[in-house]
């Protein structure tokens, strides 16, 4: 999905466990630091914030209308990266305005 990240990116991903600690990251670790694992209780708090502040409703609305639009366009809404609708929105929709001339 991100070809512009270049071969260095691939190298970092392939060697994450060895290279990230070298630069001081706490990769997937407990406690503070860059790239740490966010504790479950903090994720739970964020979830409750999304519930009370309208964030979750907003997400659901986006999902509902996306499904509706996908149907209208005759595309499969699916889930994740394999969704036809996602592929259309991600790769093609409005492209003439931004990328291809």
């Amino acid at each position: 999905m991100y070809p512009e990240q270049g071969p260095v990116w691939d190298w970092i991903r392939d060697n994450a466990e060895q290279i990230l600690p070298k630069v001081g990251a706490n990769y997937k670790g407990d406690g503070p630091g860059a790239m740490r694992k966010i504790p479950q209780e903090d994720i739970d708090e964020l979830h409750r914030i999304f519930e009370v502040s309208g964030g979750l409703d907003w997400f659901n609305k986006i999902e509902d209308f996306s499904a509706q639009k996908a149907k209208e366009m005759g595309l499969d809404i699916g889930t994740g990266k394999d969704s036809e609708y996602f592929k259309e929105v991600y790769n093609t929709n409005n492209q003439e305005k931004h990328s291809k001339q």
């Binding site: 070809p3 512009e4 790769n91 931004h98 990328s99 291809k100 001339q101």
Partner: protein, 111 residues
């Protein structure tokens, strides 16, 4: 070269450092009224061709001043030479003559 699925977009700006203003200079030199436009749009409002196409004498001459010469011949061809614009122009721009000059000279400039 690699195709990443997108490309860089050309600028949408008028660049007056590289603009081709040969036609504008020619028109100004051959019809003294070319520079007198005050962009009121009366010419386009009254234009027969503008009722059915996106032709505008005001816009055409402005585009020529900004160096958009390529499209001008095609644009100038839309005019029906009825002369109504000359009648309404408050600055006495010789619109009809300018259209004829464009039609003639575009060929000599862009052979």
């Amino acid at each position: 070269m690699v195709d990443f699925g997108y490309g860089s977009v050309k600028t949408n700006n008028f660049d007056l450092d590289t603009a081709k203003t040969e036609l504008a200079s020619y028109l100004a030199a051959n019809d003294a009224t070319f520079n007198l436009c005050i962009a009121c749009g009366a010419c386009a409002a009254t234009c027969t061709a503008s009722k059915f196409t996106n032709f505008s004498f005001r816009n055409l001459t402005n585009q020529i001043r900004r160096g958009e010469e390529e499209s001008s011949k095609k644009e100038a061809a839309k005019c029906m030479l009825c002369g109504k614009c000359t009648l309404v122009c408050p600055r006495n721009v010789n619109t009809r003559n300018i259209i004829l000059l464009i039609r003639e000279t575009v060929q000599t400039i862009h052979r």
